[in-house]
């Protein structure tokens, strides 16, 4: 037996060795890159389509699972994915035929029409055998059922026509096709150990750290360029900036202000993209004095949206003049662009008999909302409206409009994520959402009717007109001051060609490639 000696010499040698190991960086990849590291700012939680928690989960799911149809690279147009054919045989019936030989990973066999039936019905129909109801049941609104005609063929039957079924359901998270057998066998573990047939398979998922995707060799569709995608959860924008500079990160989406310092960094591309999120200042039309249309019109005229955006977004976010941004069907191009007019605002207040008004402006306690709220407070002070800014953290803020609590709101600034569908964006403003997400408590039978008609209208031109008319009704109410649909700034290595559905809420990991 020998005695271990730990003397000064041994200590220095071990410290030196450790320092050398630290100084040596990871071996650099030579030749074309086979893997990339991307940043997400929310933690991945549930990779089961029926219970996903948001777009960050959805982005991973859409490459792990196949859908009947999916978006073309960098486009909102659809192409076939798992289906060899999809046919709308009537306003309420869609027939599909699967490509044969599409295999689920981990030995769960070939995808069949029965898997499609199971995948759609477990979200859209009431659960059987005490199973948990999906959080996304509303996505499959009007689903009567999926009929299996043969191993590869089936029919989706609706109770009513739905104009947006393809864009926001079939080609999105709720259209992901899971293996019936795998869901049954894995149970709750399916959320973190998903079994799909898509271009990538999940090889690791760790809380607060992220996930690793590896190319699925059995995928028969367009082969992804990168063998591996490492998805890192980095909540802090400053850390993201440093990781991009140091080369540890290859792709991130940042707020324009956070991305600004990276424009001068060699080797990085900074690319501004319009978003389809929407931010607005809303007014509670049930609560005096805002219940008076003239008071709301006065507030709208007293505000200067451009000044607010300069404060909140360093003028890097485009101004929004109506609910739907330009990329969405039914965007109202001729929507009025309100200019600040203090004199007219004062005369409207005088006509309403309103003086020395005091209102609260509810916002989320984030820097950009706080900056916009302070500008709004200063602008409204000029017409004699005193604003108290009420900044709340997320938990309290998102609860503020619920039930009777919502009756106490005066003004608020909020932001919702959008999708490439007008009805998805309009749905939060119908009267049925009062006490839920319609914080304006705005009840317009005319808007409700236009919303319902446009949801079932399959002719794009007629649908566009209905949606524009709905926005006109919103404008007349003066309950909304549209601010911005924001902007996303993509930051990536020069050799990367990123891919995402315009608006950049939905990313397309499988179509990320190398810049030519």
């Amino acid at each position: 037996m020998t005695n271990a000696h730990f003397n000064r010499r041994a200590f220095l040698a071990s410290v030196g060795g450790t320092a050398l190991a630290c100084a040596l960086d990871a071996p650099a990849q030579t030749g074309p890159r086979t893997s990339i590291t991307v940043r997400i700012d929310r933690d991945l939680a549930v990779l089961d389509p029926a219970n996903r928690t948001g777009p960050w989960d959805g982005n991973v799911m859409r490459v792990v699972f196949q859908r009947l149809m999916k978006q073309k690279p960098n486009s909102s147009e659809l192409e076939l994915d798992a289906a060899a054919e999809v046919r709308q045989v009537s306003p309420t019936v869609i027939e599909f035929r699967l490509k044969p030989g599409q295999m689920f990973t981990d030995g769960f066999g070939e995808m069949t029409a029965d898997d499609v039936k199971f995948s759609f019905e477990r979200i859209g129909l009431p659960p059987k055998d005490g199973a948990k109801e999906s959080s996304y049941k509303a996505d499959w609104l009007f689903l009567q059922g999926v009929e299996v005609k043969s191993k590869y063929e089936g029919r989706i039957v609706l109770t009513q026509p739905r104009a947006n079924l393809y864009d926001v359901v079939i080609a999105d998270g709720s259209g992901c096709i899971v293996s019936r057998k795998a869901v049954g066998e894995r149970g709750a573990d399916f959320a973190t150990k998903p079994v799909g047939s898509g271009p990538y398979q999940l090889v690791s998922l760790e809380r607060q750290k992220g996930a690793t995707l590896r190319r699925n060799p059995a995928y028969a569709g367009r082969k992804p360029q990168y063998e591996e995608i490492s998805i890192r959860f980095i909540p802090d924008a400053r850390t993201t900036d440093l990781a991009l500079r140091s080369g540890e990160l290859d792709f991130a989406v940042l707020a324009p202000a956070s991305a600004e310092p990276l424009r001068s960094v060699a080797g990085l591309t900074v690319n501004d993209q319009p978003s389809i999120a929407y931010v607005w200042l809303g007014m509670n039309v049930e609560k005096a004095p805002l219940s008076d249309l003239r008071v709301r019109q006065a507030i709208r005229l007293a505000l200067d949206v451009d000044q607010m955006l300069a404060a909140g977004y360093n003028s890097k976010a485009p101004r929004l003049n109506t609910l739907l941004p330009p990329q969405i069907l039914g965007h109202w191009r001729e929507a009025p662009v309100y200019k600040r007019n203090v004199a007219e605002a004062k005369s409207l207040l005088a006509a309403a008999g309103a003086s020395n008004l005091k209102v609260k402006l509810l916002i989320l306690n984030q820097a950009n909302y706080q900056s916009m709220a302070l500008v709004a407070r200063a602008l409204l002070a000029e017409i004699g409206v005193t604003v108290e800014v009420d900044a709340q953290e997320g938990g309290t803020f998102w609860n503020s409009g619920k039930g009777d609590t919502g009756k106490n709101i005066d003004l608020f600034i909020t932001r919702f994520n959008g999708k490439h569908d007008p009805n998805f964006i309009m749905q939060w403003f119908v009267s049925g959402q009062i006490g839920n997400w319609n914080w304006q408590r705005w009840n317009s039978p005319e808007f409700d009717a236009l919303y319902a008609q446009s949801a079932g209208e399959v002719d794009p031109a007629r649908r566009r007109q209905l949606v524009v008319d709905a926005q006109r009704v919103m404008d007349k109410s003066a309950a909304f001051v549209w601010l911005t649909n924001e902007a996303n700034t993509l930051v990536y290595r020069n050799w990367i060609r990123p891919a995402g559905v315009p608006g950049w809420i939905d990313w397309q990991y499988d179509d990320f490639g190398t810049a030519s």
């Binding site: 630290c22 953290e393 938990g395």
Partner: protein, 332 residues
């Protein structure tokens, strides 16, 4: 066994028993407080978690699943009964057991905490001794300045500076504080900056504390007597003075470990490193009560266990503490 030894053993057992009872009471009290805070905090978890997708029916179902529609006393009873059997509940987002989530991030927290405290002790103690034995010298003054500076600057600010210097300017170390692959060496080099960021403040603190305690102890008559008996300065300083001067430092270290277990959240965020602090922070903002309760409970248990070990260790260093405590216990 002699009568004296028997008395000492009985004393030690009484002391240990009293500390264990206190520990259990602290944990139970913390559980009660934790439950109460979760019950009174404003904000509805269904709204926060489900977002604009939430229909009223879905929100109601969610509340039922979380058991929030039950009377408070039933929720309290369930919380205690489950926690005492090791069931920390289910994460309402992923549906996974909370214990599993904590198990994933706990190693990161423990390694970071003990590395930081270990580094702080390894550097802070010698610096403190050096400052005490060179009282009033230039080196003492410089050390005092540096120590106070380290104490005053928040760890997340230090973290950002460390990143700028070592990861960006010098390009020696990585920005991200957790390895993608989990490989040992990669993990070790990614640990260096987070550990330094947390340790620097503690190095200053420990150095100041040791210096002050050493100066007090070295003025004691037994030190002079030891020197008068011809013992070397080195032996007196390190064996007698330092041992006695360590007691307040050990106490502070116990508190320090507790603070770092759940309180390193900003450093964890800056380095994008998993950890209990981040887990708790995220769960609070999502009103994910089972995760908040489970993770905080784990922090509390670890905290009281560490402090129990600390108590026992300084009673071992200074038997008067044990003797006094057990005598107080005996006389009520």
């Amino acid at each position: 066994m002699s009568a004296g030894e028997g008395t000492r053993t009985a004393e030690a057992m009484r002391y240990l028993a009293s500390r264990l009872v206190t520990t259990v009471l602290i944990v139970l009290g913390a559980m009660l407080l934790l439950f109460t805070l979760s019950a009174v905090v404003p904000g509805d978890p269904a709204t926060t978690l489900l977002g604009p997708q939430a229909t009223p029916e879905l929100s109601r179902r969610f509340v039922t699943e979380m058991g929030l529609d039950q009377p408070l006393y039933i929720r309290l009873w369930r919380f205690f009964a489950n926690a005492l059997t090791g069931n920390l509940g289910t994460d309402v987002i992923s549906g996974r057991p909370v214990a599993g989530l904590i198990g994933e991030v706990l190693p990161y927290t423990l390694i970071l905490t003990f590395s930081a405290i270990g580094l702080a002790v390894a550097i802070g103690v010698p610096l403190g001794v050096f400052a005490a034995t060179h009282r009033g010298s230039v080196a003492d003054n410089v050390l005092a300045f540096i120590s106070v500076a380290f104490i005053a600057v928040p760890s997340f600010v230090i973290a950002i500076f460390l990143l700028l210097i070592f990861a960006i300017w010098l390009d020696w170390l990585p920005v991200l504080g957790a390895s993608r692959t989990g490989a040992f060496w990669d993990e070790a080099r990614r640990m260096i900056l987070p550990t330094l960021a947390l340790a620097l403040g503690w190095i200053g603190f420990i150095a100041r504390l040791i210096r002050t305690s050493m100066l007090e102890v070295m003025a004691e008559p037994f030190i002079r007597t030891s020197r008068a008996f011809g013992l070397s300065r080195r032996l007196v300083t390190y064996k007698y003075a330092l041992k006695n001067a360590c007691i307040p430092t050990i106490t502070i270290l116990g508190m320090g470990v507790g603070r770092l277990l759940g309180g390193a959240v900003l450093v964890e965020i800056v380095f994008a490193r998993p950890g209990l602090g981040r887990l708790i922070y995220q769960a609070i903002s999502e009103r994910n009560y089972p995760v908040v309760q489970g993770a905080v409970l784990v922090v509390v248990v670890l905290f009281v266990v560490v402090n129990l070990v600390v108590d026992l260790s300084y009673s071992a260093i200074d038997p008067r503490i044990r003797h006094d405590a057990s005598r107080r216990g005996a006389t009520g």
